[in-house]
């Protein structure tokens, strides 16, 4: 480390200062999840599917949140936020016209280049649909770049299912197979019932050319990986997005560290092959 390295760094802009964004649409999707569409007040955000941002509620704090839109949709970014605590709870009252702070984008995002020409199987449970949706939208918008597209989505109950209308549109599409299941149906539910892994029986997987993108709560993740492996999908083409405690997003604060890896910088997207080697990964 030379003095000049230190000086160069001292003059750099602080990575901790949020940029301002305005909410252009807000929608209470479920009891606990709120959807936001944001417009940056300065430069639009350049991002990849699978990346995340730090969302600031001024006076309250900041939380890492996945971008759930795709860059193919234009300059606005979309977020789906589950209210679980201080920051995410405060966001429940935010409406169109309100302003937030945004840092990022952070993380590696999905390797869309490596998926090109492949079949893509999405397995998204619960809130896992938020980060997955960024890639689903991307793949559907660049449909000719990919092989067969299969979307498996699951929720505990029908009223907890995110992006219901959009999923209905995906179901209608002839160039993608979309299956939805809930663990506990209500009286109006006409679709599949049971855990998401049951849907594997209904789809055909060509293991030689399939990328399985699996995002959801840890238990779901484990069983879905098992199904993908059973179908013959190799470990390096099973892809997931990890959640960790994060405070900085730039590889400094140490909170997101799994052994030698910083999830905020080296992830949050990893292959199962990588996660397995991390040991503390799942």
């Amino acid at each position: 480390m030379t003095q000049t390295d230190i000086e160069k760094g001292a003059a750099a802009a602080s990575p901790y200062v949020p940029k301002m964004a305005r909410i252009v649409a807000a929608d209470q999707m479920t009891e606990t999840e709120r959807f936001f569409r944001l417009e940056m007040e300065g430069e639009p955000l350049a991002y990849e599917p699978g990346q995340f941002v730090g969302v600031t509620v001024f006076g309250v704090g900041e939380s890492p949140i996945s971008i759930c839109s795709s860059p193919t949709q234009g300059e606005r970014i979309e977020l789906t936020i589950r209210s679980v605590g201080l920051v995410t709870g405060a966001l429940r009252t935010f409406e169109a016209g309100d302003r937030l702070g945004i840092r990022g984008p952070f993380g590696n995002g999905f390797d869309t280049g490596a998926m090109k020409g492949q079949d893509v199987l999405f397995v998204a449970g619960g809130l896992g649909l938020a980060p997955t949706r960024s890639l689903i939208r991307y793949v559907l918008d660049k449909r000719e770049d990919f092989g067969k597209v299969t979307i498996l989505a699951g929720a505990r109950e029908p009223n907890l299912l995110l992006f219901r209308e959009e999923i209905a549109e995906w179901v209608e599409r002839s160039d993608a197979d979309t299956l939805v299941t809930v663990n506990q149906p209500d009286k109006d539910w006409k679709g599949n019932v049971g855990v998401i892994t049951r849907l594997f029986k209904q789809v055909e997987i060509d293991p030689a050319r399939t990328c399985a993108v699996i995002v959801g709560p840890p238990v779901m993740f484990k069983f879905a990986v098992l199904e993908a492996l059973a179908a013959g999908v190799p470990e390096h083409r099973i892809i997931c997005s990890l959640e960790r405690h994060m405070k900085c997003g730039v590889g400094k604060c140490g909170h997101c560290q799994i052994r030698g890896v910083y999830v905020c910088r080296d992830g949050p997207v990893f292959t199962y092959e990588q996660v397995k080697r991390l040991r503390e990964g799942i």
Partner: protein, 349 residues
């Protein structure tokens, strides 16, 4: 600049001259009423009076890290209400750290690398580039807890502006940078003579014979030895004693993990984002929403610290994560020793 000599009796005048230019931090005596002189407790602080400087100190409870990276640091300020207009708070002024031992010089180099790499952190680096470091060489180990020789921190080649070597009633003064030259210009020094140089050499030779290796292997093998120990029950065995209090992290000169939170002024007109030291030994450190905690077991947290110090930081920054200062062991109520741990895992396969 060729080596100079500063008489011990002229140190006070030099400190006073330095204090006229900027603040000077140095070790001072914190606790005096002890029966055994080796129990004297020294601490780093901004010097109120040149007479308080104690360059005869053995080891300080905490290192000089706090001058570069305060325990609590404001990062961003913003308005509450219509326009938040967040802006960075980069708070620094020139200061001198006087009497930094080799282990702490090495520790600062680790922090420098960590905060400069990838995304630079100007909140640290601005303070760092405004910091002059006057090193002070050690002639003998501070105590049983230290293992700086093993960790390669006993002979720093850079990271200081001036290096002082105590030679009886004088200091041998070596200048490493231009800034160092300017500092030494404020002192009453004379060029080192042949005898001074011989005395300096003799000090170095005695130093070499006074320090002994405490690990049964070379530092370069430590990352691999740690890897081999990953599944060992040794972590659970050591963790039985651990209280997960985090004192080890607080005492460590290379720990740089932090927590971030927001604060609001009483009149609700402004807020700021603050970071403070955090500890990987505390239970919520790796917890996420939904209560999932990926290092729930105390043993896995203890192992994480030992791996971070011996392997991860080295791999990330190219600098040692542990400088062998022994502070974590001295701070630990349970007497957990990183040195003994690194010895104990040597046999793991």
């Amino acid at each position: 600049m060729l080596p100079q000599v500063l008489k011990t009796s002229d140190l006070g005048a030099w400190v006073e001259a330095l204090m006229a230019e900027s603040r000077v931090a140095a070790p001072v005596l914190k606790e005096t009423n002890v029966s055994d002189p080796t129990d004297l407790k020294f601490g780093w602080q901004y010097v109120p009076d040149p007479a308080d400087v104690r360059l005869d100190y053995t080891v300080t409870v905490l290192g000089p890290k706090k001058f570069l990276w305060p325990p609590r640091q404001k990062l961003v300020r913003y308005n509450l209400g219509a326009g938040a207009e967040p802006e960075a708070i980069i708070d620094h002024e020139p200061h001198v750290l006087l009497g930094v031992h080799p282990c702490d010089i090495t520790a600062i180099a680790t922090l420098d690398a960590a905060f400069a790499k990838d995304v630079p952190d100007p909140h640290y680096l601005a303070r760092r580039s405004d910091t002059a470091i006057i090193g002070l060489d050690c002639g003998a180990p501070c105590d049983e807890s230290s293992f700086c020789l093993d960790m390669g921190s006993l002979y720093p080649e850079s990271g200081f502006d001036v290096m002082l070597t105590p030679l009886g009633d004088a200091y041998f003064v070596e200048v490493a940078t231009q800034l160092g030259e300017a500092l030494v210009e404020a002192a009453v020094v004379r060029p080192a003579t042949k005898q001074d140089m011989e005395a300096h050499q003799a000090f170095a030779e005695e130093k070499r014979s006074d320090f002994h290796y405490k690990l049964p292997y070379e530092l370069k093998y430590l990352p691999e030895i740690l890897d081999a120990s990953y599944d060992s029950l040794v972590w659970e065995a050591i963790a039985r004693q651990c209280f997960s209090c985090g004192s080890c992290n607080i005492a460590c000169p290379t720990c740089y993990c932090f927590d971030v939170y927001d604060e609001v002024e009483v009149d609700l007109s402004k807020g700021c984002r603050v970071r403070r030291y955090d500890s990987c030994q505390l239970d919520p450190f790796a917890e996420v929403a939904g209560g999932e905690n990926f290092r729930q077991e105390r043993a896995s947290r203890l192992r994480h610290r030992m791996f971070r110090k011996g392997k991860y930081i080295l791999e990330q920054t190219g600098r040692v994560g542990c400088v062998g200062c022994g502070r974590c062991e001295r701070a630990c109520v349970a007497g957990i020793s990183i040195k003994d741990t690194y010895v104990q895992i040597a046999g793991s396969r």
